[in-house]
């Protein structure tokens, strides 16, 4: 194990880090969204997508439930809801 180790690009996607969430997940209400894209820009996981108003949503396979998107949403259109494991 002293030679270089080569990993394939983007293979981290097989880690479903959504299982890290501890009790809360963001719910995208898709009611008052103005498509400002702040949630998409500021997601540390890069797992939010959407282009049009009220189309934004996240991939729960990767969302770690940090809550940045819910706090930053200027229209309060994302809320953190508790989830049963």
């Amino acid at each position: 194990m002293f030679g270089p180790i080569i990993a394939k690009p983007g293979t981290s996607r097989k880690n479903k880090t959504g299982s890290w969430r501890t009790g809360a997940k963001p719910k995208f209400l898709q009611k008052d969204c103005i498509a400002c894209r702040l949630c998409l820009i500021l997601c540390p996981e890069g797992c939010i997508e959407g282009t049009q108003k009220n189309s934004f949503h996240c991939d729960y396979d990767y969302c770690k439930g940090c809550g940045i998107c819910a706090l930053i949403c200027p229209k309060r259109d994302i809320e953190m809801i508790s989830e049963e494991k």
Binding site: P9, T17, P44, K64, C66, I68
Partner: protein
């Protein structure tokens, strides 16, 4: 998983903590750099959480060698690309945390700047060795409590001020030096774009809050980064060829607003003398970099 999430160059599934400012910054930087980029990475949080063996979150060529030598590795890559006549289309980046840049990687980085390689060096400044258990680094700010500078009866945390790495970079006479923050993502991306458009050695330092090490709620990453800027503790400035060309104007907020959200500063909140010292640092920055627009 949909196509747009698949297309990001910094893939999901990396093992950063929830609310990590560094993973956010890395994605924002890579969005600007695009696929024609080669990255050399020092050891640090970013290297560990993005490349858990046998996986990688990077969708561009990325190499890690040691804690101290990403600048030397990147220099070699840049020289090889030049020899092959391919440098003009490819961005070479060496990146590290604050420890890998300001302490351990300093001599390789200084050599790279001095030799004038066409490389952008990026420092993701989370203000301690967060990956190994929050030990103090040279870029830890004054009074921050870390595991090697713990606050207690005999101590107010880190006794030394933050190391001025951008000024050290400037002293090398490099073409571009800038400070950015994840609290201002557009400003950050604009600075990356500008840096990549210039030829020669460049240095960009990005303030990235760390929920684990700083002891703040995971959802506050963005707000805390903004408060550091608005208090004057993290001035967003730009130098070109040693000349200050822009500084982000603020309406200064008291430093307490930034400090009170973080566990690492909890011990100074009831101590007006220590807060006054931190405020003094902010005031010095405001004066030195002309951060406030005067109405006259």
């Amino acid at each position: 998983m949909s196509d747009s999430i698949k297309k990001t160059l910094f893939a999901s599934g990396h093992t950063a903590c929830a609310g990590c400012g560094q993973s956010l910054a890395a994605r924002l930087v890579l969005e600007v750099c695009g696929p024609n980029t080669i990255i050399a990475n020092n050891t640090g949080c970013l290297e560990v959480f993005s490349t858990k063996y046998p996986e990688s979150a990077w969708c561009v060529p990325w190499i890690h060698s040691l804690f101290e030598n990403s600048a030397a590795v990147a220099s070699g890559i840049e020289a090889a690309l030049k020899f092959l006549g391919k440098k003009q289309n490819i961005n070479v980046i060496c990146q590290a945390g604050d420890g890998g840049t300001g302490d351990i990687g300093m001599q390789a980085l200084s050599g790279m700047w001095e030799r004038g390689h066409d490389i952008l060096s990026i420092c993701y400044d989370n203000e301690a060795y967060e990956n190994t258990g929050i030990q103090r680094s040279g870029l830890t700010p004054y009074d921050a409590s870390t595991t090697t500078s713990p606050a207690g009866a005999q101590s107010f945390g880190n006794p030394r001020p933050k190391k001025p790495v951008p000024e050290i970079a400037n002293a090398h006479g490099i073409v571009y030096v800038a400070i950015a923050s994840v609290g201002y993502p557009q400003d950050l991306q604009k600075k990356v774009k500008k840096a990549l458009s210039l030829k020669g050695p460049k240095y960009l330092q990005i303030h990235v809050p760390c929920p684990l090490g700083w002891g703040h709620a995971t959802e506050l990453t963005y707000q805390i980064a903004r408060l550091a800027v608005q208090a004057g503790l993290y001035p967003l400035i730009e130098y070109e060829n040693g000349e200050l060309v822009s500084s982000f104007k603020i309406t200064p907020k008291p430093v307490e607003e930034y400090l009170k959200l973080q566990r690492r500063f909890r011990h100074v909140l009831n101590n007006s003398e220590e807060i006054a010292r931190i405020q003094e640092t902010a005031n010095k920055n405001i004066k030195k970099y002309n951060l406030v627009v005067k109405n006259n």
